[in-house]
């Protein structure tokens, strides 16, 4: 069901389309002309609006395409997204494999402007387009024994340099508890800024769980499986001390190698200051999901 969740970020927090495509060209042009007032106007807007389309699509973690932040934008063009099929299986009444068009038919795509907080202590604001995962799961018919949802990213070894290098044990897998998956904030995103999902951001369809660290929001999904037991997840499999299953944004639980108390907003330039990280990335409405849980143990 669309529109179950209301945003506290507005369009005022998004760079206008006219500015986001060409911010650099505008600034370069303004500098070239020596028109200080134009440059001032643009940077004032940039201060108000943290993340441009360019920022969102050029600073990514997508290890299938390399470990550097600019590797995905350089390499993800090789990702084949046509045709795309998604398998829904496990403890569901209607298992099956669907084309993307079949998968999306009958669902209402809406815009969700979410904060996005990476486990590496940086953050962005992204205007996603997508559908609630709950709608997809409801349609699939979740059986009573199901308690978790497992997700899997596509593996295309010939097109993915990171897969060829074996930087992780691919396919990348992630998971949510069923109540997390059914929460109205949890989105299956198919685009951003009203454009089809860029490949480096996880085309054609990806998960977005805004109160969890970014690596939970698995990209380029080909399989969704309802399970009874907690599914394995890639990063906790690599290092369970550093990455837990829940991985909720939590300023009071540090990553063993760095602090999570503050974050840097991407797009602020060389002199950007840090801001305090918010519990659940500011999405306190999810707190009841974890009532009675020690989040320093279940991190």
């Amino acid at each position: 069901m669309a529109h179950r969740w209301k945003n506290d970020l507005t369009h005022a927090d998004v760079t206008p389309k006219s500015a986001f495509f060409n911010r650099r060209q505008i600034m370069a042009g303004a500098a070239g002309l020596g028109v200080a007032s134009i440059a001032g106007g643009v940077s004032a807007q940039a201060a108000l609006v943290p993340n441009s389309f360019e920022d969102i699509t050029s600073y990514n973690n997508y290890y299938e395409f390399g470990t550097g932040k600019s590797d995905p934008v350089d390499n993800a063009h090789q990702l084949q997204i046509e045709p795309w099929s998604i398998t829904v299986d496990g403890l569901v009444d209607n298992p099956g494999t669907y084309s993307l068009a079949q998968f999306m038919s009958g669902l209402t795509v809406e815009e969700r402007i979410y904060r996005f907080r990476c486990v590496e202590a940086w953050s962005m604001v992204v205007p996603w387009n997508g559908v609630e995962l709950a709608d997809i799961l409801t349609r699939a018919g979740v059986q009573s024994g199901a308690r978790y949802v497992a997700f899997e990213t596509v593996v295309q070894p010939d097109n993915m340099i990171g897969v060829q290098r074996g930087v992780l044990d691919f396919p990348y897998v992630e998971g949510l508890r069923l109540d997390e998956a059914m929460h109205p904030l949890t989105l299956m995103a198919t685009g951003l800024y009203g454009q089809p999902m860029p490949k480096q951001n996880g085309a054609p369809i990806r998960l977005v769980v805004p109160w969890k660290y970014g690596f939970k929001s698995i990209k380029s999904i080909v399989r969704i499986t309802l399970t009874e037991t907690e599914p394995p997840t890639t990063w906790s499999g690599i290092n369970s001390r550093e990455y837990g299953f829940y991985s909720n944004v939590n300023p009071t639980v540090d990553h063993p190698r760095w602090s999570q108390a503050t974050e840097r907003e991407i797009g602020g330039g060389l002199f950007a200051s840090r801001r305090d990280t918010l519990m659940f990335n500011g999405y306190n409405e999810v707190a009841p999901l974890y009532a009675g849980m020690d989040l320093s143990v279940n991190f």
Partner: protein
């Protein structure tokens, strides 16, 4: 001989040009970071550029002696400039970390104490400070050449720690930090007193 030709070419390059090139390059990177960074996150980018260059220079510095001994390529006149430039890039790396990245003295201290990879990097930096401070003829005269040489062997642990620092901060399995660590260990291996390890015949 190729080595002779290389040496002849090198003799035409004044060692001080390395300081100038280093300073210009550091300033250029900073300028790019301010005006038109290649990434939306220029702080981390600049931090890594400076750190990476420092590590490269440390490797080159460690290669000077083996190159001369085994390939007869003489970079000796540049060794001090290489080392001092490396030190200044480590310093720049630290300043970007402290001032632009972490942004508070308290947090810098927390990072050093709580984050092993920062601890290791900091240890490497501290080991390099006395080397940077004594890289001048007056210091060599004052403390004596033998002591000075002994003191400057601190660059060995400093380089190993720097490579570990890089390896430790990387996520997942990444080749580049391992290459640096391997290079440094290989260059240090050249210095082991192999002859003494051979059994007497």
């Amino acid at each position: 001989m190729i080595a002779d030709r290389i040496n002849a070419g090198l003799r035409r390059v004044p060692p001080w040009s390395l300081y100038v090139a280093g300073a210009l390059w550091a300033a250029w990177l900073f300028f790019i970071g301010v005006t038109n960074p290649p990434t939306p996150e220029p702080i981390n980018w600049l931090e890594r550029e400076y750190g990476n260059l420092a590590l490269k220079l440390l490797v080159v510095g460690l290669a000077v002696t083996p190159l001369r001994r085994h390939l007869r390529i003489n970079l000796m006149p540049f060794r001090r400039a290489i080392g001092v430039t490396a030190f200044f890039f480590v310093l720049a790396h630290f300043l970007v970390f402290a001032i632009l990245d972490v942004q508070s003295v308290a947090r810098v201290w927390t990072e050093i104490v709580k984050r092993p990879y920062v601890t290791v990097g900091m240890a490497s930096f501290l080991l390099l400070i006395p080397l940077g401070a004594t890289s001048n003829n007056a210091s060599i005269r004052r403390i004596g050449a033998a002591t000075w040489r002994k003191l400057h062997k601190l660059v060995y642990p400093a380089a190993i720690l720097a490579a570990i620092h890089y390896l430790w901060l990387s996520k997942g399995f990444q080749i580049e930090p391992l290459v640096y660590l391997a290079l440094i260990l290989a260059l240090l291996t050249f210095r082991l007193p192999w002859k003494r390890l051979r059994p007497a015949t």
